[in-house]
């Protein structure tokens, strides 16, 4: 009896502390008055070289099965990503660089990807010296040293699914590079057998990691099953070796213990979480640690680790079984060992409706396997192994990735597909159309449920003139919402605790430029929080603080469907408002 009473006491005490904690604080959350952090200083010179590690396929199985169990027992909830700056964006770092959207990129620039202006591997200029190879497995390949001085990994298509694997490797690298990730330069190359020359010291590894001589017979075995162009040339994806020294893959959870720059747990990094939507877009179901690579690079005498993503050979529709089977219908909807799905199906006797129960072969199964647009469910997409970072994705992380995806125009996609150099025009058309349709499905899903507003700018025509706050509506720009049914309601609050409503207004998009909207800030000259402050008040005085809530409706009703909150400091009529923070809550309460 006493022990039961003790347990009750402990539970009540915990509850009380928790509720007290919930009630603590003055309720005012303010961003500091300072420039946003755009560069994460994780390039500190390393004093010791990190160790080299290898990928673990079995760890992926453990992470898919046991980690979810541990997470369930921890009763954990998804927490906000850590490496997000005050404007709800990701700073540049050794993981990510803001590219498309942060700075305009032409379709040609996007299509060049990580290759930049460096000329591609030239099949007219040989010989290509084979230094190592991988004759076995589902994706055989060769490592060559080319006359241009670079080393390349040549990845070949097999006899099935024609040009998909090499196309996917190139398309994936271009998209991820434009999005901001560090990736190798991948390009399609078609070469004659005769350009290859086997180095006397060429090696391959057997299944147990032992070095064996690479022989001409091995080369013949690789080339015998390789997909060839109509001209008889061998088609390959040539992946230029990344600069630096390879250190092996990074993990999607935790930090690398021997890298002192790596202080943000990887599952708490927004760019890794958000890459799930890029993976969903191109159907990259094998986004796991085996397809990552840390490189120790030297910049100006300073060595640090750069984190790369690579190998998209599974994207654009690779399948689990070579003939179309119901198993392939599971790709993208569930993994090999998703216990949450298994338990649900077990308990519900299989009655829970699953998309893979009724899936038909997609239009181009012989090339693009399971790659289509209609079966994509953006918020439900899954890889075959559970990715620890993907599991932690929040709506804000997804929306960040969506803002990047929204910046890929049809022209960008066409230029990327052109780099895949598919010989069949119908296949190229199908690929481009499907990428566009999948992009639009992702945009439609997220931009009609969360705030579609982006690109907030403050502007004025002259000093002391009224400022304007302008924003871009990505849903209208992407045509997943209509101007006629879109409405914005803006509330401006001020004061130390944002308790004062300084004004509100309702706007509809300008039919002439529906995706770009501006409004005055403040709404009237006297409706600014700093107006009554004494002269000489500090710039960061809490009384200067202002919060603008922009509610957006996309349906013909007045109920708000999304909210973005902008935070300002009012520095006075002369200097104007200063944008210091952006929040995009997913919990939208209808404004009063």
């Amino acid at each position: 009896m006493d022990s039961r009473r003790d347990r009750h006491t402990i539970v009540l005490l915990l509850l009380s502390l928790a509720v007290a904690g919930a009630c603590a604080g003055d309720g005012a959350r303010r961003f500091p008055l300072r420039d946003p952090l755009w560069v994460d200083p994780d390039t500190t010179a390393l004093s010791a070289k990190p160790s080299r590690r290898s990928a673990s396929a079995h760890a992926a199985i453990i992470e898919s099965t046991l980690l979810p169990v541990a997470r369930t027992l921890a009763v954990s909830v998804r927490r906000p990503a850590m490496n997000v700056n005050s404007l709800d964006e990701v700073p540049n770092s050794a993981w990510f660089t803001n590219r498309i959207g942060a700075h305009p990129m032409s379709p040609e620039e996007v299509a060049r990807g990580a290759c930049g202006d460096t000329p591609p591997l030239d099949p007219q200029r040989g010989p290509w010296t084979i230094v190592s190879g991988k004759p076995d497995g589902s994706h055989p390949g060769l490592v060559i040293k080319a006359p241009d001085g670079f080393r390349y990994l040549l990845k070949l298509d097999g006899p099935l699914m024609s040009e998909r694997a090499t196309a996917a490797d190139v398309v994936g690298s271009k998209i991820y590079h434009a999005a901001g990730f560090f990736v190798p330069c991948n390009e399609i190359v078609a070469f004659p057998d005769g350009i290859l020359e086997l180095a006397p010291t060429a090696k391959r590894k057997d299944d147990q990691g032992h070095d064996l001589p690479l022989t001409a017979a091995d080369i013949q075995q690789i080339l015998a099953s390789a997909w060839r162009t109509r001209a008889g040339l061998v088609r390959a994806s040539a992946s230029r070796y990344l600069p630096g020294e390879p250190l092996g893959p990074f993990r999607y959870k935790g930090v690398r213990g021997d890298d002192p720059n790596d202080v943000i747990p990887h599952e708490m990094r927004r760019e890794l979480r958000g890459s799930m939507l890029l993976a969903a877009w191109i159907h990259h179901w094998d986004a796991q640690e085996a397809n990552t690579l840390d490189m120790l690079i030297d910049v100006g005498g300073s060595r640090f680790v750069r984190h790369n993503l690579l190998d998209w050979g599974d994207a654009l529709g690779d399948v689990w079984t070579w003939t179309w089977t119901r198993l392939n219908g599971r790709i993208g909807h569930t993994g090999y060992l998703d216990l949450d799905h298994a338990v649900t199906d077990l308990v519900t006797l299989g009655m829970w409706p699953r998309p893979w129960y009724h899936v038909a072969p997609p239009p181009q199964p012989e090339t693009f396997g399971s790659f289509d647009a209609d079966s994509l469910e953006p918020n439900e997409w899954r890889g075959t192994y559970q990715n620890p970072a993907f599991r932690e994705i929040t709506p804000q992380d997804a929306l960040w990735a969506v803002r990047i995806i929204a910046r890929f125009s049809d022209a960008h996609i066409a230029a990327i597909v052109d780099r895949a150099r598919l010989e069949d025009p119908a296949a190229a058309r199908y690929l481009a159309d499907t990428l566009i349709q999948r992009r639009d499905r992702i945009l439609r899903y997220y931009l009609t449920r969360l705030s579609p507003l982006d690109r907030f700018t403050l502007a004025r025509s002259e000093p002391n003139a009224a400022q304007s706050i302008c924003f871009r509506d990505l849903a209208l720009a992407a045509h997943v919402a209509t101007p006629e049914s879109t409405m914005y309601r803006i509330h401006l609050h001020g004061g130390a605790h944002q308790e004062q409503l300084l004004g509100w207004r309702q706007l509809r998009p300008d039919p002439g430029r529906p995706s770009e909207t501006c409004t005055d800030l403040p709404f009237s000259p006297n409706a600014r929080p700093g107006i009554r402050l004494e002269p000489g008040a500090r710039d960061d005085d809490p009384r200067r603080y202002a919060v603008m809530e922009i509610y957006s409706n996309q349906q013909p009703s007045l109920r708000a469907t999304a909210l973005v909150v902008l935070h300002f400091f009012d520095l006075g009529p002369a200097r104007g408002f200063r944008l210091v923070g952006i929040e995009r809550p997913d919990d939208v309460k209808d404004p009063p």
Binding site: V11, L14, L15, G21, A22, G25, L37, W38, T43, T44, A45, S54, S56, A57, H58, L66, A70, L73, V75, V77, M82, N85, E89, N92, Q208, G209, P260, D262, V263, R326, L327, R330, L346, G350, Y357, T457, L458, A459, R460, S461, C470, Q500, L502, G503, W504, R505, L507, D510, R513, C518, T519, S524, N526, A527, R532, G576, R578, L579, V580, G581
Partner: protein, 478 residues
Amino acid sequence: MSPGFSRRTFPLLLLVSSTAFHQRAAGATEVNQTQDSTQGPPLEPVAPAPPVAPGERRPVPDYGRPPPPPPTAREAFLWVPRTLLLPARLTTEYVLVRPTLAFARWGDQHYVFRRIYDFLTWDNGHSGVYPTASFDLGLKSTIGLGLVEGAFGSSNNSLHATVSASTQDVLAFSAQDRLRVLRDGTGEVQLGGGYVRRPDGIFYGTGADTRSSDKTFYSYETRALSAGMSGNLGGLHRAAIELGYRDTRIGGSTIASDTPSLDARYGGAGQPPLPAGWGGYDLAWSRGFLVLDSRSPRFEDSGSGVRFDAGASFGMSPRDPDLRLLAWQLEAGGYYDLSGARHVLSLQIATHFIERIGPSAIPFSELPALGGQDWMRGFLAGRLRGNSTLVATAEYRYPVLALVEGELFTALGNAFADHLADVSPGRFFLNWGVGLRTTFARDTGIAATIAFASNRLDDPAFRIADATRISLGVIHGF
């Protein structure tokens, strides 16, 4: 409210604001644009960060976001289950997850798993040895090894062998050579033999009136040889003929203190006589069966169809020419796929008969029996024995994982006298249970089953779960 916004001016401000449907073209972003925008970072490269002292890590940057809001009441309440589950969580995390992950990574880094696989397999994985295990609550669990040699002497010939054992005198091994005699692999000749020695044969008596309290154990040792020919008739239709010989020794068993040996309850003064076959017998037999099954062999097709199985066997003892028997069976099943995606409801009925056609009584171990992995799975193998059996099973199977099915089943069945002479509705047992099984192949797989068995339906003290069976191991058949 601050002095600037009195109760009188505030509504006026609201009125002014609310009536201003005001917007300006985006072209107003002209001269003297302020610095604050989301245009992104500067394009110029940034100088490297200053070094960190050896052994230290750089501090986590200040990303300029305010601390998160205080937890809501719902988030605070989550600490209750978190606290209650903390021991389980810590155990899972530090005893299971982390060591397993570390072992997996170490094993992959040193190619341990690959080396084990390469050691156990050859011929590109077409041949190899594999571990086996069998667990059946109430019987002796076994572990063992299986061998498959895919090209034994020739590419058309394969050898399959198993050996299993456990503590307390359990040993079994078998070997079978399979020769494909038709080019398309539809015909096969088999030659095989085996040995089994176990102390946990169960005997509850024969006929319809057995009770759970009648349980006894016996030990047996069987040596067997067989040869046969089978053919695939298209799809899942198949036929086979076999002949063979087995020599069985039967004796007492004292493996369990709470369950008597068979000869402690039979054969004594005032006790029923020992069952026929006690001590041992040998039998030369021949058998033929035909299976007609309209279901598609492909798992991705619908699971609907019908199945009909008929078989007969004849046996004669070389040592006791008076022992001659004829056994025959009929099985029928209907399968309906509710969704087309392998949510299959089925009803299967089976009846088995045996006839004594010589003067000697049929050994009890040759009688048709129910229980085990095929029929009446709530009972151990051999629970129900008689000159005839009748059983009906309703089952529902559905996909759970990519290659795993769940199943629910219920069955009514019992053993009876000759030709089901004493069948009546109340004389059946009810079985029911759940299970999981793999679907790598139709005929074999790994199955886990939890099943329950009632006592007889007409028992005044009817109990729906009079016995429990938990099993895990390799299964054969549908």
